[in-house]
Amino acid sequence: MPGIFVFGTIENGIPSRSTLELLTGAQRLAAGLQEGVSVGLLGPGDGASLYRYGVEAVYRANDPLLKEYQADLYLLALQRIAQAAGAKVLLLPGDSLGRDLAARLAFRLKAGVVTDVIEIDIEGPEKMPRFTRPVYGGKAAAVIVPKRFPVVVTLKPRTFDPAGPMGQGKGKEVPVEISLDPAQARTRMAERVQEETTGVKLEDAPAVVSGGRGLGGPEGFTLLVELARVLKGAVGASRAATDAGWVPSSMQVGQTGKTVSPDLYIAVGISGATQHVAGISGAKTIVAINADPEAPIFKVAHLGIVGDYKAILPPLIAKCRELMGS
């Protein structure tokens, strides 16, 4: 039985970005542990596109109640399909979905749990998987090994590259019977609200301009929105800025917030606490604009300007606009 189990999602007929990242981790585990890869899907959505990524089997629980996310129902279904698949290592995304489910799923499966994994390798003759994750706000990294199987693992988003096609592209779908009762859902989603400022998704943006406490108030963000627009990017924020209510929490970048891996990350008025930097380690070029030459952000940035953002951003926006012709 394929022992490496990925909880997948299909978007517009193809595996979602987070599912492809999980499949990279799954392929690594499968090779090291000599196991096959299966994907679990909940609800409708065609899983055929998964077979190109070395997936042997798609286990699907399709109950009409699984169309919308609800943790209690998802947990019942996930437990069922993971057991049907004989899952040994279960991979879940480290996003809001996986954060909601992973530990509870582990409890139900009597499994171990490792969250926010950034590296996977297989150790020595015993062939035990070793999972590396940041701890202490990114000031250290811990290598964690399971003492038992199954083990539920979440991968930090935007850390593993999305999987490329491999294998012969053949697999089978295994329907898993499950009949859910609406009474099993103990909570109910009443509303879902979107909060995007520039139209580009923060996680997908090639350029991210983030602001922190140094902006001094919500008005400072208008300059950032302008710069992001010119760069066709998105706006992010430090926790100090979201906690102050200057911008929505969903814009927080960092350990608790989002992981971004843009080509260009510009940190404005952000000191560079390790918990913030934990969210930008995949950024190719980091620019810091900060009034304090001693700010820790200059220890992680590639390029920096020491100065008041109010003096720097207007000419920067103007120059970029010239260059980008917009």
């Binding site: 582990a106 290598v143 964690i144 879902r192 969903s250």
Partner: protein
């Protein structure tokens, strides 16, 4: 409404990286006499609890599992406005993972009397596993909503704002519930008043051992762990930041040139 808030005492997480040291024998941070604090999101959780109490009445208890030193975290909780506190402390708990901790916390919470709401931080400030809260919900067999920034209540039905990638979701549920709390402008922790700090310092706080709580010895401690920390390493930090010289206009011009060289724009 009766609310229990789970608070963890940790070494100040905002300590600069330069002062961070590892204790290789325990694979933990070396305390080095650094200040101990309540894990930040737990203070946000306590603030949520206190505001709910102020609006709708009820009681708030704080509970912690840890070293005897965690008494000071509980005292701070009392000084902020909690009515009751309890410490779960036992050498048998040493080395426990999230499942062991949650087993002990669940028994402690049951001993206090099953509350309407259990609040945890969304992640601890040191290990940030994000697991103790959800596992505790399972151990107590109550539903869990995670990463909640705001809670409103009316008629025994609560509305929770759960932060997600695209924005937020509003979830509804009836107590008992466990929520894991995220910081938000609406739950910035209050500073305790000097008078309340004094009063709290005189309160006696019960300490419960695993045996007092009837926790199974096989469920806690190092022998029960499901995953093991094999090693703790310090990531290497390079500092090769190129600073732009001159007046803002000059700095910006040089920056643009460098960005183009790096093909960043």
């Amino acid at each position: 409404m009766r609310i229990v808030v789970c608070v963890k005492q940790i070494i100040d997480p905002e300590l600069p990286a330069s002062q961070f040291r590892i204790d290789a024998s325990s694979n933990r941070q070396r305390p080095n006499g650094h200040p101990l604090v309540i894990s930040p999101y737990d203070e946000n959780a306590l603030e949520v609890a206190l505001r709910l109490k102020e609006k709708a009445g009820g009681t708030v208890a704080v509970v912690s599992a840890g070293e005897p030193s965690a008494i000071s975290a509980l005292r701070k909780g009392l000084a902020m406005g909690a009515d009751e506190a309890a410490l779960i402390s036992d050498p048998a708990l040493d080395g426990s993972d999230a499942f062991g901790l949650a087993a002990a916390l669940a028994r402690g919470i049951q001993k206090l009397g099953i509350p309407d709401l259990v609040l945890c931080g969304c992640e601890s400030g040191d290990w940030a596993d994000r697991t103790v809260g959800p596992i505790l919900a399972e151990a107590l067999n109550i539903p869990c909503v995670s990463f909640v920034a705001q809670v409103d209540g009316e008629d025994g039905r609560l509305r929770m704002r759960r932060v997600v990638e695209e924005g937020y979701e509003v979830w509804e549920g009836a107590p008992p519930l466990l929520l894991t709390i995220l910081s938000h402008e609406s739950n910035i922790p209050r500073y305790p008043k000097v008078k309340d700090i004094m009063t709290a310092s005189r309160r006696s706080i019960p300490t419960w051992s695993a045996a007092d709580l009837g926790v199974e010895a096989g469920d806690i401690g190092k022998a029960a762990i499901r995953t093991e920390v094999q090693q703790l390493t310090l990531p290497s930090r390079e500092s090769r930041c190129e600073l732009m010289d001159g007046e803002p206009a000059q700095q910006v011009t040089t920056l643009i040139t460098k960005l183009r060289e790096r093909k960043a724009i």
